[in-house]
Symmetry: C2
Subunit: 326 residues, 2 copies
Amino acid sequence: MSGVIIVHGGAGAWDVPKDRAAASMCGVKAAARAGYKFLSEGGSAVDAVEAAVMSLENNPLFNAGTGSILNEDKGIEMDALIMDGSNLKAGGVCSVTNILNPIQLSRVVMDKTEHVLLAGVGALAFAKEMGVQTATYEELHTELAQYKYDNRIGIKGTKGPVLEYKDTVQSIHSDKDLGTVGAVAMDKDGHIAVATSTGGMTGKRPGRVGDTPIIGGGMYADDSIGGVSCTGHGEAISKVCLAYRILQSMSSGTSTEQACTDGVQHMQEKVGGVGAGVIVIDKEGQPSYSFNTGGMAWAYIDKNKDIHSGMLPGDHNTEKFKPQAS
Amino acid sequence: MSGVIIVHGGAGAWDVPKDRAAASMCGVKAAARAGYKFLSEGGSAVDAVEAAVMSLENNPLFNAGTGSILNEDKGIEMDALIMDGSNLKAGGVCSVTNILNPIQLSRVVMDKTEHVLLAGVGALAFAKEMGVQTATYEELHTELAQYKYDNRIGIKGTKGPVLEYKDTVQSIHSDKDLGTVGAVAMDKDGHIAVATSTGGMTGKRPGRVGDTPIIGGGMYADDSIGGVSCTGHGEAISKVCLAYRILQSMSSGTSTEQACTDGVQHMQEKVGGVGAGVIVIDKEGQPSYSFNTGGMAWAYIDKNKDIHSGMLPGDHNTEKFKPQAS
């Protein structure tokens, strides 16, 4: 086989206009193709997930890279992480500004430093030193992100530091499009990699770091078990180490589907998380997706090169791979 | 019972002068007493671990708060995290500067925001807004941290971004005193809390975030299983979600001792970590410590109010609690 890749474009209510929903579906399929291109040419899973996430970061519809949401001060601060399941190497950035592709910077952190995670101004200085492409605020800013900021329920009037938990729930439900992105791939050698990227939550405090750059929280990769990327309420996901928990459960023989269901249920029981979406590739190369939110844009390309995709519960479209379509 | 508390002052070679070793032992015992004071007065485990870690942060011998090590640019950037095992609430900061007690700021993040982790300038701005005590560089800087920076093997001559793994190993072994701090406590109601704080690794890249502020990496607390704080090579600990792994193992019936041994062995097999230290309180209130490094300064106060402490392998001193000694 050439390999397998699965991507998601965030879980949420997805109560979005039909034209934007269709554009999001095109976006996740294009990202899966962008990653698969590497796999089909014999490239690594790490290259594939980096390319897939870059595609989503460059798509202004998704909340990562260009199109990242605005924080309380209208700033754009991004988190990302990439992990190689063959050796558990990882690299990530948190609360970083002015980077065109945070996942590209994460890759350089993984490959060129002894560290796993760089924050804020230190991460930006490292990017400049390494020649990773920067971006102005205007280049990252989109009308969609501004619209979300201007219309967000639960932030206006609660400008102070205390946001009650019910406001968080409210904001999750009212935020039509969370849009954090992630990708999991297995290459021809059976190696698994995961990449995640996000702008966070609209109206978040400056400096807030979610689950996306947290190893074991928003993602994990281990060739001997599988790879997982999670999306949803970052604080809830972090508190229960959701990605690691799901893989540990799979490792002890639980089916992927059951491990995802159990993991999200554990999260909701323990910390009241409002729901989450998960994409997985197991050690046999079987891709899976799971969400208990209103929707999650997802797409995968399987061992037969068929492209599968969907967004709402029950959606599952299949089409033949057309490389020219990428 | 009043409660139980265990603290550590970092794992490493501990090839330190005898007078400094003795001072470190006084430091961990004083920290255990500072936390126990809350427990004996009916206070919460969260209050106890915050007080214990503040005591270690304020002690210039330890690499946290005052006495934090210097990064590559001689800057002082600190990480900390506190977690309440009764509800899995958590609060932390990473790569934050100019804070006298990062664990105090972490507590405010936990109690007064909807977020779990704040980074860098955002974390500092939040501290100022909330009136959390700041500190100048000079107030946090110590001669000991400067000495470590000036004499560090493996940093000089590798000023560039690439530090080979062997350099990391070298630096761990040559850094006589890692000194990251942590505390785990159980209160009279059986609630468990964990707090951790660090200045990181001498010569680290600006912005580097280790395992200390990562839920499930350097620490975890869950009343239904126990509480864990880890210390050692932060990148290695993060990559295997060491604290969460140990608790999951205990949850499935493995003894605390075996779970710690298995966890650290897994880390060394998977990512070549050079060793680690772990402190634990299980759901029955039994404190434990474990390390496979040259030493770890630790102290605990048990249900009988006896104070136990040690540093080198085999050390285990016991004395009666004398409240006036705090």
